[in-house]
Symmetry: C3
Subunit: 333 residues, 3 copies
């Protein structure tokens, strides 16, 4: 695809070469995100960071990515007070807001809304999450993290996806991106009530990948490169009995990891993870495990979003030319 001026709305718009291009630019962004270098290549540009549904980390991640390229950020958060609530159409909102900035990042609670907005916008739009539909930068940062963590081509990757595979937007997008590679082996581990929709599984198999389905955590995690865990919300179950049945069965902790996983298996999670005692996800006792990649994953979000902005605004080749040293304290612990 031609990135200059393009909107990023869905993972379906990418071919493998597009993803490789994004990742190559993301690699180049690392010294800037780590504050070893400063660039001001987008000085004077404005990001409209329009969050009609709250999401602190995604919003701040996009905003920082734009700042790190030298641009300014104007934001909105929340819905109630917006013109949309007064009956304004997404068409009108898009025509107006796109007069204010050079690119817009938008999150909106309704599925399909960001695409509708983008169709009327006069500037490129990045989908920051539209309901149950898409969150393409999350899928890209997940895939980018997998590639960095395993340290080789994604072809032949073995990955277990754990938890709520029915409603989890991130695993749906990720599996669609993986489809573009070769010889992927996916293990899907979830309660029966929350299993991956058949259509995703069929797509993978038709593309020549292998998919294994299980509802036992310990079955699925023994022979994979990546364990990708997601949150299970108890209210997804039809009854408390059903929820009780599964309580704790998809929780990964250090003991289970040591007993069942291969020594280099990488642990990922889209975050936030619920660290309250009743939650069924990643135990805090994994925090010292060097293969827990969840915070590197969040860091990679900045790199991938910088790459998207650099490509959309067509400055990827200019970043290094404008680089200068950082003159303030920036050692990171």
């Amino acid at each position: 695809m031609n990135f200059a001026g393009a909107s990023i709305l869905s993972v379906d718009q990418f071919e493998r070469a597009d993803i490789e291009k994004i990742f190559a630019v993301a690699d180049k962004m690392e010294p800037y995100a780590k504050r070893q270098l400063v660039t001001r290549v987008l000085e004077g540009a404005i990001l409209g960071n329009m969050f009609f549904e709250p999401s602190t980390r995604t919003r701040v991640s996009f905003g920082c990515a734009f700042n790190l390229l030298g641009g300014e950020v104007r934001e909105t958060t929340g819905f109630k007070s917006s013109a949309i609530a007064k009956g304004e159409s997404l068409y009108d909102t898009a025509r107006v807001l796109s007069g204010y900035s050079d690119v817009i990042c938008m999150r909106h609670p309704e599925s399909g809304s960001v695409g509708e907005f983008a169709a009327a916008s006069r500037v490129p739009v990045v989908n920051g999450g539209d309901g149950a539909n898409e969150h393409p930068s999350q899928a890209l940062l997940d895939l980018y993290t997998i590639q960095k963590e395993v340290g080789r081509s994604l072809d032949g990757l073995r990955i277990a996806m754990i938890g709520d595979l029915k409603f989890g937007r991130t695993v749906h997008s990720l599996i669609r991106l993986l489809k573009l590679y070769r010889n992927i082996h996916v293990v899907l581990v979830s309660p029966a009530e929350l299993s991956m929709p058949e259509s995703y599984i069929e797509e993978m198999r038709l593309a020549g990948h292998s998919v294994e389905v299980s509802n036992e955590l310990t079955d699925g995690i023994g022979s994979v490169d990546i364990v990708y865990s997601t949150r299970i919300q108890e209210e997804r179950f039809e009854s408390q009995e059903e929820a009780d049945l599964y309580r704790g069965r998809f929780r990964l902790n250090q003991q289970i990891y040591t007993k069942y996983c291969q020594p280099n298996t990488v642990i990922m999670h889209p975050l936030p993870r619920d660290s309250r005692s009743g939650a069924n996800e990643l135990d805090n006792d994994l925090n010292q495990n060097p293969n827990l990649a969840i915070f590197r994953q969040a860091d990679n979000g900045v790199l991938v979003r910088m790459a998207l902005f650099a490509l959309i605004l067509d400055v990827a080749d200019q970043v290094d030319k404008s680089a200068r040293e950082v003159n303030w304290y920036h050692r990171r612990t």
Copy 2:
């Protein structure tokens, strides 16, 4: 008036020459707002964008205007959490907040509050809307749009104002600005219950202009340069019967436009327009009409607000000296 260091609180503070000065500077801002050029003339300056009542588009428009001149923006939105809610006087709030920035834009739900705030502020204040009272930058951008759209002097302008003329802050401010020109012909079209207060009509007639009053849409729109439509909120009527009586009678659509308007009549609206099916304003079927100026009107808001900041902070003459080319993608669709 001397703009340097002045607060912009009301349209009443302008003479015709002041408006012409603002518009001349706004014209010069166009290449910056269109991202053909970048200026950093206000680099290091801070706008305090203080919205004690929400208004996404006005807030973002002011913020972007300041960013486009190179300055930074610090914002607040909402009221409940502010010190004002803890019993702080506007005097105290103004003394404190004016220590933080170079200029303040303020919106506040109470009529007169921004003037009271400005009296205690140590830096210039721009009224971003204070209750039913004033919203001078809206009136200026409306008038600027009229001038650009008709492409000639405003003297002799013929304009129809449609909808809620009783409570509509924007039409009140606009009619006061028009008073400064010569030989204006105003057609006021509204339900009887929502007609323009007599004082505004008297002022216009005393200044030598002609004012026609009607409650039939099709009477009013046939012989004007501009149709300025506004929202009618049904709850303004005393009874549902009254509201039903007027339902749809002030709604402009393409069919009515074709039948009754002259071919170059320009359609304006302060936005947001209510696009829900029950609303009585501008039909979406006008979106392809080249004379629908509502989005150009919103774009002009950035130009007028840039001009106000440039004049208040006395940098209008320095903008072009600091101009440089834009190096990122900026073609607009």
Copy 3:
């Protein structure tokens, strides 16, 4: 202490020499805060201004301080919508958010939370107030104001603290900083129910200072350099009878000042002051009194916060090298 890369969590981490260093840097920041000079020494750096509890003035003061050094600010306000509300631990929040910025300022309603956050953060953290616990930049700006107002060494200072001395976080922190000086005389004036906890008084006396306790305003204010007034919230009293007993007895106005205070006694308040008629603090008739230092105090907050950022990010010595003239209107009334 070594400021470079350090978090600022509590007044207890400072020795007298540290405070003198902060104040020396704050003095150097004055031409920048007054817009006589511009510096861009932190251009490219990002402050994460994370307010999980609202506080307009503290948030904007920190943000402006960072902007005035040339840096960018990414913000969050409110709590409900944050990941913390979904069960995310402060550890996780800190690991993620500290990947986005160069320094974080954090306010949080829970006592001790900011320290817990800082322990997991990969970048320095400034405590912007954590519940009833600490608000060190407020204590520093109070002390800085005292020093500037009295115009000599703080040794030998005489100060009256008035109002709610039991729950007032600011007076607790201030008294702890004063302990580092010599020969301080403190007069504590409050209702018996709201008196300063004994531990603070003991600490002062053990350090060789003198402390006098009173519940009569006019007893305490006659022989001091500084009157530091704070808000009394009526709901702190056990009964309305108790509250009524004290109503108005700790309110300072011009008449009382003239009758009881020495002519150069400086009046301070952490703000906001409640200016509603029933409030018991500083009367508006003091606004013309040149010794009312409350707004200079707020202005000093910007200087002290600039100094903290400059020291933490180790650019204090570079600020003047990068200075340039201001080219916009900046006379302050």
